[in-house]
């Protein structure tokens, strides 16, 4: 048990465990302390209000009400626990049955559980109570019966999910026997959710049991539980609310404590994510090397931070500076985790709440990019700096027709009326190659293929007057034959409007065909900024070189092993001394492992390397 694990450090875990512990203490120690006071009849203290005879008053036999509430915890929680265990066991068994029975049995079970789940627990318990009559036992059975379908369905769903997992398929192919698979692969992976649900279901069981007793259908005198005590106190609530409030508070506390404990269990079992808060807003931006201004897009000393698992700020983009001229086509290249998407999203002002950006310089034309919200300058970005996303199906609202974004941009940024925007939208959709565009505008996104949606996204970018189109891996989710069409469309869009392009990609070959300049990122830093022509003739940074070497071309020599870049990129949380690439670099020396290289200008390029490769001039 590692108490420094972020799961133990999450506030909700501690709260849930504390609440659970308090409940446990109440049940175990409480009755032992309060037992005597709860049973002592004092005819000289009958029906008193809060006072010396009882902190919350006394009942009609002069017994201390607070003590009775404490003692009742054992019966209430005990019945709740037994009902939950009973219901959960039956439910899990029934839910697991379809795994071993013919399919029709499974379908029948599924239908019956779904039918039972349509009815609220209380109604089911009333039904059973009507059959078995009032009493603690019938209430217990009723609650167990009402809980069982919840577990039956959960078990069924979970087991079906895990049963279809690749690792179960693999185990079967390796000859593992069904029972082994169940014990080794299925049960361990469904136990967590079942435990969490059981904890929370017990809270529900206590509430329903209290409700039944409150109605006089549950625990019968002389035994008493919280619901019974509450019912009893209701008669005098007009004169004396305190005796009613104590059992009421106990019921609420139990429900709350068990739901908090369930949440804690869920976090500890790794089923719910640990909560991460974003790092505090912008620190003083670092003084950056090579700030330049006067381009269309100027970014200087950009830092992006997210919170790590322990809530400490984690710099995932470090001191990135670059500048785009009007109409220039630039690519940002890097592997996953290099910070390329974060850099561009920060530049576009589209980071979500979990990341914080700061920069010494961040402007688009005259408009400041960071911090300025809802100003006229900032709003213009919606038309002048359109963004194209990686997964086109995810980037269109599933409930709105595909035409909505186009019309929106036309109206808000193109200065058009709704009919005019519609007309232009149809025109633009036609231009990117969609047939029957006017009708297509009204169709939902799922009626389109990925390639068509990506073209519709490009059409959206053309609805106002774009000056810079940002495209985040626009072809990664598409098939190769469609990729080319979309890239060509994108290039044509820039040609027609004179807009620049900022393309994020992990594919150097795509970049070389589309852009004029390449920014290479590694571990959050910009390591090289070079013209595409130089990429082919030979980059200066060993990482860029390695990326090129790893590129699997259509004529790789089958007789030889492919060139390999050993090792892996550092994780963001790893402490890096010196150049982040040094551990994987064939040319690194002592200095590379100590000092972080800054970008330095070499000819037409910028390189952050202590030992840059020889730069050849493009022939």
């Amino acid at each position: 048990m590692d108490l420094t694990d972020p799961r133990w450090r999450d506030g909700r875990t501690r709260l849930g465990l504390a609440a659970g512990a308090a409940l446990l203490a109440l049940v175990t120690v409480g009755p032992w302390i309060a037992g005597e006071a709860a049973g002592t009849v004092r005819l000289d203290h009958m029906l008193e209000g809060p006072g010396p005879a009882g902190l919350l008053g006394t009942d009609e036999l002069g017994r201390d009400i607070l003590a009775r509430v404490v003692v009742a915890s054992r019966l209430t929680l005990g019945l709740g626990l037994v009902a939950t265990l009973l219901g959960a066991s039956v439910g899990v068994l029934v839910g697991a049955l379809p795994a071993v029975t013919p399919p029709w049995v499974g379908r029948l079970i599924a239908t019956l559980t779904n039918l039972a789940l349509a009815f609220p627990t209380l109604l089911l318990t009333l039904f059973v109570a009507a059959i078995l009559g009032a009493g603690a036992q019938s209430a217990l059975l009723a609650i167990a019966l009402a809980i069982a379908p919840i577990f039956a369905r959960l078990t069924h769903t979970l087991a079906a999910g895990v049963g279809g997992a690749d690792y179960v398929t693999a185990a079967r192919a390796l000859g593992a026997r069904p029972l082994t698979i169940l014990a080794r692969h299925v049960l361990p992976n469904i136990a967590g959710p079942l435990v969490v649900t059981a904890v929370m279901a017990m809270g529900g069981a206590v509430v329903v049991l209290s409700g039944l007793s409150f109605l006089g259908l549950g625990v019968q005198a002389p035994a008493y539980d919280w619901g019974g005590l509450l019912n009893h106190a209701l008669g005098r609530v007009w004169t004396d609310p305190a005796p009613a409030l104590a059992p009421a508070a106990a019921i609420v506390f139990t429900g709350l404590a068990l739901s908090l404990a369930g949440e804690a269990a869920s976090i500890l079992l790794g089923l719910s994510p640990v909560r991460r808060r974003p790092p505090p807003a912008a620190r003083q931006a670092p003084a950056s090397s090579l700030l330049s201004a006067g381009g269309l897009l100027d970014i200087g000393g950009l830092d992006v931070e997210v919170a790590d698992a322990r809530g400490a700020p984690l710099r995932i983009v470090k001191d990135v500076s670059f500048s785009l001229r009007a109409g220039e086509r630039v690519a940002i290249v890097g592997e996953s985790g290099s910070g390329k998407s974060m850099t561009v999203l920060a530049a576009a002002g589209l980071l979500d709440g979990r990341a914080t950006a700061s920069a010494a310089l961040a402007t688009f034309g005259a408009a400041p990019l960071l911090g300025a919200r809802a100003t006229a300058d900032e709003r213009r970005l919606g038309g002048e700096m359109p963004v194209i996303f990686q997964d086109p199906l995810a980037a269109f609202n599933p409930l709105l027709p595909v035409g909505v974004p186009l019309v929106e941009v036309g109206m808000r940024h193109g200065g058009l009326s709704r009919p005019a925007a519609r007309a232009r939208a149809a025109e633009r959709l036609g231009e990117v190659g969609l047939i029957d565009a006017a009708r297509r505008l009204t169709q939902p996104p799922h009626a389109f293929s990925g390639g068509m949606l990506q073209r519709a996204m490009i059409a959206t970018a053309l609805m106002a007057e774009p000056r810079l189109i940002i495209a985040d891996e626009p072809t990664t989710a598409l098939d190769v034959t469609v990729q080319r069409q979309v890239l060509e469309r994108l290039g044509a869009a820039c040609d027609e409007t004179g807009a620049g392009l900022l393309l994020i990609s992990h594919d150097l070959a795509v970049v070389a065909e589309t852009c004029e300049r390449v920014l290479v990122m590694y571990a959050g830093r910009l390591v090289e900024d070079l013209p595409v022509a130089d990429l082919v003739s030979g980059p200066a940074h060993p990482y860029t070189r390695a990326l090129l070497d790893c590129l699997l071309g259509p004529d790789a020599d089958r007789g030889k092993p492919l060139p390999v870049l050993e090792g892996r990129p550092p994780r963001p949380e790893e402490e890096i001394a010196g150049c982040a690439f040094a551990p994987r670099c064939a040319f690194a020396d002592a200095r590379c492992r100590i000092e972080t290289p800054q970008l330095a200008v070499i000819g037409a390029r910028r390189v952050a390397c202590w030992r840059p490769l020889q730069v050849r001039r493009a022939a």
Binding site: A165, D166, Y167, T169, A170, A171, R172, A173, L174, G175, A176, R177, P178, R184, H185, P188, N189, E335, S336, D479, V480, T481, Q483, R484, L487, H506, D507, L508, A509, V510, A512, E513, L535, V536, S537, G538, R545, A546, L547, L548, D549, C550, L551, L552, G553, P554, A556, R558, P561, L562, V564, L565, E566, R568, P569, R611, P612, L613, Q614, R616
Partner: protein, 254 residues
């Protein structure tokens, strides 16, 4: 006959035919590359070849035996599949070494011998015993895929189906996984079916290439022939679609 033989394999999901009438032969020890785009049916075909599902019609035979019957409790199948996403293919709650011992148990190797053999298999794919003690989440993507390869090998299969095994990996890691697969195939001599949407990768790994589109085999032949002089227009389109970049050889250090 030795090797893999598909005869008129058709796979239907309801009314939709994912694969239609695919027939081919992969002689023992050869590598077949299956290339196609999403929806081409290549993954469904892979599952049938690995014996994970039965074809709706036709037959898939390995060394003359129906692959769908090779799956049996208590015995590791001689046809193993390596999945696209190694994180989903390894039980999240178990040390990855146990995945390999499970495979060894499938051919009767247990106890101390299994422990030694598991370490040998980890070493074979370039991982240490310390890696084996970790859970999948504690390994990098490339390392996980290496574990999956080691697991498949531990079953000593005669056929391995590799379904898009590099597409979930970073560019700089893909090459080492491909090298490992090719090296192991040469050393062990298993028949390989390599499924990918990446034509250059397929060409590098495979001896023969099957091009699939909309569930149909549109071209099948030796890798060099298919890529150098494709006969089907779709193969040509695939070849042309891939962007190219021809860098010059690595320069010397300054």
């Amino acid at each position: 006959m030795k090797g893999l033989e598909l005869r008129d394999v058709t796979i239907r999901y309801g009314a939709h035919a994912a694969v239609r009438d695919v027939s081919l032969i992969v002689p023992e020890g050869r590598a077949l590359g299956v290339v196609g785009e999403s929806g081409s049916g290549k993954s469904s075909l892979g599952r049938v070849i690995a014996g994970l599902q039965a074809p709706s019609a036709g037959s898939a035979r390995l060394d003359g035996l129906d692959v769908a019957r090779l799956q049996a409790p208590g015995r590791a199948s001689p046809a193993q599949l390596i999945f696209q996403n190694p994180l989903a293919a390894l039980n999240p709650r178990r040390a990855v070494r146990l995945a390999i011992t499970e495979a060894l148990a499938g051919r009767g190797v247990t106890g101390a011998r299994a422990e030694t053999a598991a370490e040998e298999h980890l070493a074979l794919v370039g991982l240490s015993a310390a890696h084996g003690a970790r859970r999948p989440a504690e390994l990098s993507g490339g390392q996980r895929q290496r574990v999956a390869i080691a697991r498949a090998l531990a079953a000593e299969p005669r056929l391995i189906v590799a379904d898009e095994i590099t597409s979930a990996l970073d560019v700089s890691v893909q090459a080492s996984v491909l090298n490992l697969l090719v090296e192991l195939q040469h050393a062990r001599g298993f028949t390989l079916v390599f499924i990918s949407h990446n034509l250059p990768a397929v060409r590098y790994v495979a001896d023969d290439i099957l091009v699939m589109r909309h569930g149909e085999a549109v071209e099948h032949g030796p890798a060099e022939t298919v890529t150098a002089s494709p006969r089907h227009p779709y193969t040509r389109a695939l070849l042309d679609a891939a962007p190219r970049l021809a860098p010059q050889p690595s320069p010397e250090i300054r």
